[in-house]
């Protein structure tokens, strides 16, 4: 069976493409960094796509707005329509939102108590609602409390009324406390996002847009030793000599891989 091929799309200003490629390759993909102006014939040869984090086009006009209009996004859109998986991480999430490839949503500037709060950089926790709705989250359970870092200035999900009413059909990442408690307020919700949403799938499940960075929690060594909960415990045990390598977000990459293999 051929190894599924994954394209990590590099826009001018992307800065997370290398670690994203590394995480995808570690969990089984043949992962390549592909430039935003690659030929369509080369792009369509891939089985899955990731739009990585960064500051494409320096966030000019709005975050992700310029990249969303590029011809490559038409290729990505067609691939998603064919059932190929498309993951947007942070700036990639913003690009997908601007391109309208998930649902009617936008990534607005962060707020705290309805006031601008600027750029945030921290570890948060998320839980996944309806994980079976998307290949990306198929191996998670609704009780999993997953640590993950956030690093953004425009991560507040806002939705049209129609899109918000259809959220029950999507796999949804929501910010929670380290003990799994939901709250729509800071500090559990770090950026004022609607319903504490950190990411979600398209209705078909094959496009997933998330603001936190799974590639920065793909390996156990990336988890801070000071973190609370199960993953913090595992990390502390690893420093004491255990050989555990795989991190909290292994399941996302493996879910992508297994779905892509089954599809091929």
């Amino acid at each position: 069976m051929a190894t599924p091929r994954l394209a990590v799309i590099q826009f001018p200003g992307s800065n997370c493409e290398y670690e994203t490629q590394r995480a995808a390759a570690f969990y089984g993909f043949q992962a390549n960094i592909v430039r935003w102006n690659a030929l369509k014939v080369d792009l369509t040869a891939y089985d899955a796509y990731i739009l990585p984090g960064g500051f494409s086009y320096q966030d000019r006009v709005r975050s992700g707005a310029i990249a969303a209009k590029l011809p490559i996004m038409q290729v990505v859109s067609e691939a998603a329509s064919e059932g190929k998986l498309v993951l947007g991480i942070c700036n990639g999430c913003q690009v997908l939102a601007e391109a309208g490839l998930v649902t009617e949503m936008a990534m607005a500037p962060n707020t705290r108590y309805d006031k601008p709060v600027g750029f945030i950089c921290n570890w948060q926790y998320v839980q996944i609602q309806n994980p079976i709705q998307s290949p990306f989250t198929q191996y998670f359970s609704e009780t999993d409390i997953m640590p993950i870092p956030v690093n953004h200035g425009e991560g507040r999900f806002v939705f049209s009324e129609t899109a918000r009413s259809e959220l029950s059909r999507a796999a949804v990442l929501r910010y929670v406390s380290y003990s799994g408690d939901r709250s729509d307020s800071f500090p559990v919700n770090p950026n004022g996002s609607t319903d504490g949403i950190a990411g979600l799938s398209s209705p078909s499940g094959t496009v997933f847009a998330m603001m936190p960075h799974p590639e920065r929690a793909a390996f156990l060594k990336q988890v801070p030793t000071s973190l609370s909960g199960v993953w913090g415990d595992r990390r502390r045990q690893a420093t004491a000599g255990s050989k555990e390598v795989n991190g909290p977000w292994e399941k996302l990459f493996v879910g992508m891989l297994d779905h892509t293999r089954a599809r091929n």
């Binding site: 000019r60 209009k69 859109s77 806002v158």
Partner: protein, 168 residues
């Protein structure tokens, strides 16, 4: 109220990228020029508001950097209104009031300025191409302003921004 348009003296990278996106990615062949200004609306208790704002802008650099920015008070600068072109002013505001108001208390120079609100203005000039004003207004709104997908619009995201379009 005193309205101040703040523009960049040199290259405006936002305009460059937006114009490139319109012309190359979105196939807008009618674009002549695109300009961008920060908008500052001052409300002052002074008997001479214009003098008060001018005095503030020349005496303090909290809101405007004179090394790289230009200021035009109450008048949109450099408007070329040739008959074969049409120019539209698009005012963009964030829906949340907190994003529009400047913290006056933090302004370093003691002033009689009561409030300052901020926004953004894009000035779009297109070839008229035998279109009526109504057609032009519709085209500007759908093809340039309101961004709902990857294939049209760019300047405003209607899910968290409000806008107003006026033809000069």
């Amino acid at each position: 109220m005193v309205r101040v348009y703040v523009g960049l003296q040199q290259t405006d990278l936002h305009c460059i990228s937006a114009a490139e996106a319109f012309r190359n990615a979105l196939d807008q062949t009618d674009l002549v020029q695109l300009r961008r200004y920060r908008l500052l609306d001052f409300v002052t208790r002074s008997a001479d508001p214009l003098a008060a704002v001018t005095s503030y802008l020349t005496g303090a650099f909290d809101l405007v950097n004179p090394n790289k920015e230009t200021v035009s008070i109450d008048t949109l600068p450099d408007c070329n209104l040739d008959s074969d072109r049409a120019t539209f002013v698009v005012e963009v505001l964030n829906q949340l009031p907190a994003f529009r108001s400047v913290d006056v208390a933090s302004l370093r120079v003691a002033t009689d300025i009561d409030s300052v609100s901020s926004g953004l203005v894009w000035v779009i000039t297109v070839w008229r191409e035998n279109r009526t004003d109504a057609q032009l207004q519709r085209d500007i709104e759908t093809q340039y302003v309101v961004s709902r997908s990857g294939t049209s619009g760019l300047l405003v995201n209607p899910l968290f921004e409000t806008y107003r379009i006026d033809q000069l």
